[in-house]
Each structure stands twice: as C-alpha cells, then as structure tokens.
C-alpha cells in the first residue's frame, strides 16, 4: 500500500488537474499503523533487510508528504496510530472527528515513535510530545485539535459534505482550502478528565533530562496527594521497554532541533538497528507478547532503565556498519518550490 501511495502522490504532484489530495480510511480506522506482525514474520526468516526496506519506503512517503507541493487533507475519522500518524500529520490539513483516536504506542512494542514522529511530537506544546511518545497515551479528537496534531475538528456527520466541497475546489491555495474546511468546523470541548488539562504536570515532569528523572519527577508529584492519572502514567512507563523509552526520549529531543528530513534519516538508522536486533531484541519480544502470543507480558532485555547505558543508546544513532547498507536518501524536492508549510507545520 505504501508503494501505491508513493506512486500516487508522485503522479498527483505532476498532474495539473489535481489541486489537493484527500486521504481517508476505509472502515473504522483511518490507519492503525503498519502490519508489524507481518514484518516480524518476515524478519524471523532472518532477513532484517526486508524490514529495513519497508521502513525505507514508508519514511520516503512521510518525507514526500511533509514536503509536498499540494495540500493534503487527511480525514481522521477513527484510529490514527503509528504509521497512520506518519501518513497524516506531515500533511497540511488534519481533520479530526468525534471518532478520532490518536496514539503512538511504539514503546509498549519495543519500538520507538518513528515515521517522523520525532519531528512532529517534539513540536507539540511544552513537553506534551514527550508524554505522548513515551506513554503511548490515547488522544481524542478534541485533544488532537488542542495540541495541534489536528488542524480542524469536523463532526463525522458533516464529512460527506466537506468532501463534496473539497472535490470541487479549483485551487491549491492552502488559505482557500482552510476556509472551506472552516465552514464545517466545530470547536469541541476537552472532556473533564483530559490529559491536556494536566499540561503543567506534564511540563514539569517530562522536561526532565532522562527517563529515570521523568519517572522520579512523576513520583514526587504523588508525594503530596494521590492522583490516579499520574500513577497510571508511571505504571505505563514501567511496563514499556526500557530501551525503547530511552531511545524514544533521545529521538524526540534531537528531533526538536532538526528538520523533518534529518529526523527521518536518523529514525531510519534507529529502525534498522531495531530490526537487526543486535543491541536489543525487545521489538520481537514486544510483538510476540502483544500481537502474536498476546500474553501481554513481554520480557524486556535489558530489563531495567539503569541497565540501558548511554553507550547502548548511542548505538541506535550510529550508522549501521554493515555492507550494502546506506543512510536514507530523501528524494530531492528542489524541483518544486517548497511550500511554506513544508518546513514546519506545528
């Protein structure tokens, strides 16, 4: 499907009749992410390069979307997870609905938020990106709009009309397209228990330098009064792969200072290390426990945060020292004038 999307996006860019691209899901989800289980089966056949090849295409698509010369409108009427986030958040317009559920659940799987997440998560307000990326917390449509992951909120009942209106637009001007979506837009209110109302705690704790310090900052918050949300957050972090948490935090932190292209190149290095499994096999263990055997009891290795040393983390960010491996080569985008929003959108 990624290959097909790549072909289509490249073709649409050249086609003067195409003014914008609408991307939506078929069925209940927008996109629940890549087929990780299939990937793991492939790699178990001892071919991590097959996995790498998959990510190479996916990240290339992410970059193409980020630097696309025509507006992409993603209709996020359902689940948006992992790869689904990568296929939408990089585009110009993201329309959330009351059915939207967003999450980057990779740390529970022994992976890390990829598909350019280190770029878009790091640009969310304060340290909300660290929170979303490390805990895999689920966000609803109102929260997505509040934090900027979505640009608009349209009730699902109005989607058909929105689509019809977009289909007859004869312009690629984002200002015009935005004003059309605005006509169907509503301002949702955050639910009482929304995590987005806890930004002060999130900023205090998730701004800490290391994962260990984040957890102890959360625990300090509990000293004075009990708080279910904070203790659940701590539990979630303690269940996630320690290696994943550390490389994810570092990835988001580095991503904050990098362009989207640099982020994808770095994430590609990281994901190749994960697929190859030389530093840690947590990804395979996570997939086994969550997706295949479904015992929900992964045995991480290293099992504790303090055992994941800086030098272990460093290895994920280094080039692969193996033959025939190359850094991700991003397609040149100089031919088309880069739109304003290609550089930063959030």
């Amino acid at each position: 499907m990624i290959s097909r999307l790549l072909e289509l996006f490249l073709a649409y860019e050249e086609d003067p009749n195409v003014k914008l691209v609408i991307l939506k899901g078929k069925g209940r989800a927008f996109c629940a992410g890549g087929d990780v289980a299939a990937l793991v089966r492939d790699i178990r056949g001892d071919d991590w390069r097959a996995g790498a090849k998959f990510f190479l295409k996916e990240f290339t698509l992410n970059y193409l979307m980020a630097a696309y010369s025509k507006p992409q409108v993603s209709i996020l009427n359902g689940i948006v997870m992992g790869g689904g986030a990568g296929a939408s958040v990089h585009g110009r317009f993201r329309v959330a609905t009351e059915n939207s559920v967003f999450a980057m659940p990779e740390t529970a799987l022994g992976l890390f938020p990829d598909v350019g997440a280190s770029y878009f998560l790091s640009r969310l307000p304060g340290f909300f990106g660290e929170y979303v990326g490390l805990t895999g917390s689920r966000l609803d449509g109102a929260e997505m709009l509040a934090c900027g992951l979505a640009t608009h909120f349209v009730p699902s009942a109005k989607l058909a009309m929105l689509e019809a209106a977009l289909c007859i637009v004869d312009s690629s001007d984002p200002v015009i397209i935005s004003s059309i979506i605005d006509q169907y837009c509503e301002q949702p209110s955050l639910k009482e228990q929304s995590v987005y109302k806890r930004l002060d705690v999130i900023d205090r704790c998730f701004s800490q330098k290391t994962v260990e310090e984040i957890i102890s900052a959360l625990e300090r918050e509990l000293v004075h009064k009990m708080d279910v949300w904070i203790s659940t957050t701590i539990q979630t972090l303690k269940k996630a792969s320690p290696t994943s948490l550390k490389i994810s935090l570092r990835s988001i932190r580095e991503g904050r200072l990098q362009g989207v292209g640099q982020c994808l190149v770095r994430e590609y290095r990281m994901v190749c290390h994960v697929m190859r499994g030389e530093v840690s096999k947590d990804f395979f263990e996570g997939c086994r426990a969550i997706l295949l055997d479904k015992d929900k009891n992964p045995k991480w290795e290293p099992s504790k945060l303090e055992l994941v040393t800086d030098s272990r983390v460093d290895r994920y960010f280094s080039k692969m020292n193996t033959e025939e491996w190359e850094d991700l080569k991003l397609p040149t985008r100089s031919k088309h004038k880069l739109p304003l929003y290609a550089i930063a959108k959030l």
Binding site: D203, R256, G259, I343, K345
Partner: protein, 690 residues
C-alpha cells in the same frame, strides 16, 4: 498572453529584461492593493524571487556533528536539552516567522517589563533544575556542565546570562572564594535555590578598573561586634550593580577596611539590602542606573550605604579577619598579594565573557552566511540570474576570515575553560594573563564580527528580530565590564615584561605563557613567500613568534630607556603604550593560533582535518596581514602582498564549506533569526495577517 503565462511558470526560461521588470512591477502593484481580498490568498505563492534553502545546493564535505563536538568541546547533549527547555516555553517568547519558530526576548518591551521577563525565565529554569549543583557541587564535571548551560542560556539572551552571572559567579563566587566554611554553609545552598538573591557591589562612580582606589569605608565597632559600612561621598556610590535596582536581597560590598585609624586595604563584606518581600533595608539607598544601550533585562542600580551595620562574621575572611576585640589578622602580610587574592574570582567572569563573545560571533556568522547563501544581487550579464552574495569574492573576503577567527577563538576558549577548571595556585598567573588577553581580544573581535555581519545582511540586519544588529548593543558592554579591555591588555604586556626581566636577571630560560619559543634562535622569514610556505603551520607559527619576540624586546628596551632618564617604571609603561598595545596583540594572536594548531593535531587525517587546516591557515594569514608586520619590517612589501593574495585564495577554497562550517556551530534554528531562513515567506503579506 498565453505564452507569457508559460514563462511565468518557468522563470528559468529565457525572459527578456523588460518583461521581467514588467512582471515584477505588476506583482508590486497587485500586492500593494489590499482592497481586492480575492487576490490576497494567492500572494504568497506569487513571489518574484524563489527562496531556496541553502541545504538544497550546498553539501557537507565533513561530519558536522563531529565538528560541533570539537567546537563545543563538552556537554553537547546537555546543551541541546537546555535549548529544548527554552524553546518549549511561552516564557521564551516563541514567534513563528516564515513557517519556523524563533525564540528571542521581546526587546520592544519597556525596561521594567524586560526585567520582569528575565526574572520569570530564571525562575522557570530554576524549577526545572538547571542550576542544580552550580554552587554546591564540586569538581571538573560540575564546573564544565555549568559552563555549558551558561553558554546555552547566553545564546538566548545576554540579560539572562548576566543576571545569572552576577548571582552565581560574582555573589556566589565571592562567598566561595573569599568566605570560609560558615559562609559556605550559610549562603551557598540558599543562593543556589534563589532563597536569597545576590549582587556584587565593587564598582563605584569614581572608581572602576582601579578597585584599590574605591572610597567606601568600613570601620569596626568592638562594643557591638559589628562592622559599619559607609559611603562617604557621591563618587563612592556603588554603580552599575547588576540586580541592585529591583531584585537583589543581599550584596557583597567592597570597601576599604579601617581598623583603629589604619587602612588595611580593600575587603569584602556581606550586607543585606532588601528584606524578603523586597523593601529596601534601613540605611540603604538605592537608585536605578536607567535605560541602557543594551542589557535592559538587567536591573543595574546604584547603592549608598549610610553607616550600615553588619555582624562581624559578615567579613569574608579567607585572607584576613578582625578579632572580636578589633584586631586585624591576616595570613598574607603583603597588601599587594592580599589584593590579588581578592580579585581571583573575577577570573571566572572573564572566562565566561570570553566564551560568550565567541558564541555571539557564531550567531552573527551563522545568520549572515546563511543569508549570503540565499540572497542574490546584480547579474553579471544581462538575462543571467543575479549572483548569490557569497559567490562574490569581496563578500567571501568579508565573512570567511571572520569564520576562521571564530573557529580559532573557539579552540582557544576551550583551552581557557580547561585552564580555569584545572586551576592550581601555580597556574594563577597564567590564568590571569590568558583570561585577560582572551577576554579583551574575543570581545573586540565579536563587536567587529557582529558589525560586519550586520552590514552583510543589509537592511534586514537592522531589524531587531534578525538579531545580528541588536546583539551589538547587547554585547558592547563586554569590552568594559570585568576589566576594561585596554587595561587588561596593558596587564598582559606588563606580565610579559616581568617574564622577560626575570629570565634575564636569573639568566634562566623562558617557561610558561607559551614563551618557550624565546629560548630558540630567532626564526627567519624566507625572502620570497610561496603559496606552500604561506600555508605551512611552521611558517605561520614562526611569523607570529617573530613578531612577539621582537616586540617584547623593543618594549623592554623602550621602558628601560625611559627609566634610564630617571623616570619611574610606572611612568615608563605609560609612555611606551604603543609598543605595549602591539605586544599584547602579538601575544594574543600567537597564543590563540597555538590552540588552533593543537586542536587540529588531535584529529586523524580526513576531510574534517583538511578543512580545519584551511581555516587555520586563513586565521594565521589574517594575523600576519596586520600592519605591525610592515610597521616593524617583519615582512617585505612583496611578501605582504603575497599574504594578501593567498587570503583571497583560501577564502574561495573555503566558500563551498561555508554552510557546513556555520551548521557545525550547533546553534538551533530557533536561536538564529528569520533572515537566516525563508526571509521571503517571513515577510509575506499572509504573515502580516497572522
């Protein structure tokens, strides 16, 4: 019409000049009429010129991460953590320009608002643990981390750096260095947590660099066991005291100590100037220094002491004490040495200022060079695209040597930091001389670099949001505070003089301050300098050593000739000021160059080393281009011309690396400015509407 429309879509196709002008004018006309709203949305896509990010056309011939590690030297990830901390907070005034976020204080705020914001930012960083261990943790790692954080914060704003510098390095440093255990126990932790806010009252209206001449007087009252601090006259009012005007609760007071009618010289005391809620204490008068040409986020104030009484233990007594019954006690009998011991903490300030100046130069150059890689002006031939600024050799000649200078300063600054962190009583003299020299030279260089960068950005450089121009006002003060640059450079020459006289008297070899080359035979400059010679580090070192050696001899001779006429040594120094200036410059250039050579030597052969080699040559050649080489005859006129020619060659060879060299500074985009990125979008009509 149809054909013309096609050409508009493909501006690279041939297009005659008249048509292009018509098109530009049409666009101007259309854009200047906001009365037709239907036109407005389409304007941003209708720019006459395309902005093309320099990354698309410029490659990196070396690993910029590796280069950054070499330049920053230490705690790179910690710096980035702090950059992120600042970027993610509304307090740091993030603004979107041209699709990118930039953080920088709002300098259009009033002085009082800027001070309040500076203080809020400090509280934010405090709450997130940035200052943890700044005064209570010891050791090399802690000190270097403190340096790294201080440098990163200083990239955001000079005011916040100075507020921190006064509180931690001057107030806190004075307690650490002049105080003894009970002072440390009482004050350091509270200072680190900002339970108290410190300032440092040394300078007076009538005395700045000449601290020994200050007029504030303190006496001891043995009946109550208190010191009595007094400002006897208007010229004794404390002046420029950072933190005094609004925030500080406590101050270090420098004062003459008069015990039973005997003046024991300058001593330091702790005095409270405000209570916990901010009211000025009795017998203290405070006034504002007013609006300044920069640093308006710092509340500089003036203080008068009206017989303020402080307990006996408030004398910082590491070198001298007064007993309860009023006897003066000091382990250092020589008042000169006692005074020198007092001034030691100022070295930390000088190290910080020198390093900070280098980082400001990096900001200026990163902005000016990125702009020069995206801005075009004039076509060489009709119908040709306009030429990129940095492709003009004259523009290269303006900016690339400054890049070489900044690299040289970076390596020298890293050395200075290490020298300071590894200090021993034996290295005090070296630290004093090197920090004085580097502080003066780096801050002067920085002002020159910022001015050139401002001009290289043209009118855009004048906008405060573009930073380069504004930074000049913010950092001008660096050539004055913590020792006036001219005075510091005189001290360098005097120290070299003393080394020379001592070596002659004891008939011993030179050792230290990099003067060992004086023990060797005098280097000889070839009569005809070839390109290969000019790029040889041995020749470069020889040339710089030759100048230093000769000027030192000349200076000593000149001073002794004055003395032979019966003048005092002090008067002789004053009269020989021209040689003194040239000598201190020669020392500094050579010392900085030496650190460049040493940094280069640590690298394995490769593209990184090659580029650094070119920068090293360029730095040496611009030093050798200095008029002193002709003035004193170290270079023939022909050789001086050869040096000049070679400089233009190296500049053009470094041109392809310009982007990589400024990217290696590791300054996040958000800490540069809109003119360094898509300056067309940053100025588009749609950006006005937002």
């Amino acid at each position: 019409m149809k054909e013309k429309k096609n050409e508009e879509e493909h501006p690279s196709f041939s297009m005659d000049r008249a048509f292009q002008r018509t098109k530009i004018l049409t666009n101007h006309l259309l854009q200047s009429s906001p009365s037709s709203p239907a036109q407005i949305p389409s304007l941003s896509s209708n720019a006459c010129l395309d902005y093309s990010p320099p990354e698309l056309s410029e490659g990196y011939a070396f690993d910029i991460k590796e280069m950054r590690q070499l330049l920053d030297g230490h705690h790179v990830a910690d710096r980035d953590w702090l950059f992120g901390m600042m970027m993610q907070s509304k307090l740091f005034n993030p603004r979107v320009r041209g699709g990118k976020v930039f953080v920088s204080p709002d300098y259009n705020q009033s002085m009082e608002q800027q001070r309040e914001m500076t203080w809020k930012r400090i509280v934010y960083l405090l709450e997130r643990g940035v200052f943890k261990g700044w005064l209570t943790e010891k050791g090399e790692e802690a000190e270097m981390r403190k340096f790294a954080y201080f440098e990163a914060v200083g990239l955001f704003d000079h005011s916040i750096a100075i507020k921190l510098g006064v509180h931690f390095f001057l107030w806190g440093g004075a307690i650490q260095f002049f105080g003894t255990k009970h002072h440390h126990d009482k004050w350091l932790r509270d200072t680190e947590n900002y339970l108290i806010k410190g300032c440092f009252a040394m300078t007076e209206l009538g005395h700045g660099s000449n601290v020994r001449g200050i007029e504030t007087v303190t006496t001891y009252d043995s009946n109550t066991g208190e010191f009595v601090i007094n400002t006897p006259c208007e010229s004794a009012q404390k002046y420029w005291i950072g933190g005094a005007a609004n925030h500080a609760t406590h101050t270090i007071v420098f004062s003459q100590l008069n015990i039973n009618g005997t003046n024991q010289g300058v001593h330091a005391f702790i005095a409270q100037i405000r209570d916990a809620v901010g009211n000025v204490c009795p017998n203290i008068r405070i006034a504002d220094c007013g609006h300044k040409i920069g640093l308006n986020g710092v509340d500089n104030g003036r203080i008068w002491f009206d017989n303020v009484r402080v307990p006996r233990e408030n004398l910082l007594n590491s070198v001298a004490d007064v007993s309860a019954d009023g006897k003066y006690l000091s382990s250092i009998k020589d008042p000169d040495q006692r005074f020198a011991a007092f001034l030691a903490p100022l070295t930390a300030g000088r190290v910080n200022i020198a390093v900070s100046a280098v980082y400001q130069s990096k900001v200026g150059l990163a902005i000016a060079i990125r702009y020069a890689l995206t801005r075009r002006a004039f076509s060489v031939k009709p119908n040709e695209p306009e030429v990129l600024l940095l492709d003009y050799p004259s523009h290269q000649r303006r900016l690339v040597p400054l890049l070489a200078k900044t690299y040289a300063m970076s390596f020298a600054a890293n050395y200075l930091k290490m020298l300071y962190v590894k200090r021993t009583p034996q290295s005090n003299k070296t630290i004093h001389v090197v920090s004085s020299s580097f502080k003066a030279v780096f801050t002067w260089n920085n002002m020159q670099i910022l001015q050139e960068c401002r001009e290289a950005c043209g009118g855009q450089g004048l906008k405060t949001e573009n930073r380069v121009g504004h930074l000049k006002g913010e950092h001008d003060v660096q050539s004055t505070f913590e020792g006036d640059n001219n005075i510091l450079m005189q001290q360098v020459s005097k120290a070299l003089f003393a080394e020379y006289v001592a070596a002659q008297k004891k008939n011993k070899a030179f050792k230290g301050l990099g003067l060992e080359h004086m023990n060797k035979p005098c280097p000889v400059i070839p009569s005809q300098l070839t390109s290969a010679t000019l790029r040889c580090s041995q020749f470069q070192m020889d040339a710089l050593c030759l100048r230093e050696r000769d000027l030192l001899k000349c200076f000593v001779l000149d001073v002794s000739q004055h003395q032979a006429k019966g003048e005092s040594k002090e008067h002789a120094f004053i009269m020989s000021y021209q040689l003194a200036e040239d000598l201190s410059r020669a020392f500094s250039d050579r010392a900085i160059f030496q650190k460049f050579v040493e940094a280069e030597a640590t690298l394995a052969a490769g593209s990184l080393k090659d580029v650094l080699g070119m920068l090293r040559s360029l730095y040496a050649l611009i030093c050798i281009e200095d008029v002193a080489f002709l003035r004193y005859g170290y270079l023939s006129v022909d050789n001086a011309a050869a040096v000049r020619r070679e400089i233009t060659k190296v500049c053009s060879e470094l041109r392809p690396h310009a982007l990589a060299l400024v990217s290696s500074f590791g300054i996040p985009d958000a800490f540069l400015s809109p003119v360094a990125f898509n300056w067309i979008d940053a100025n588009s009509w749609s950006s006005v509407q937002h």
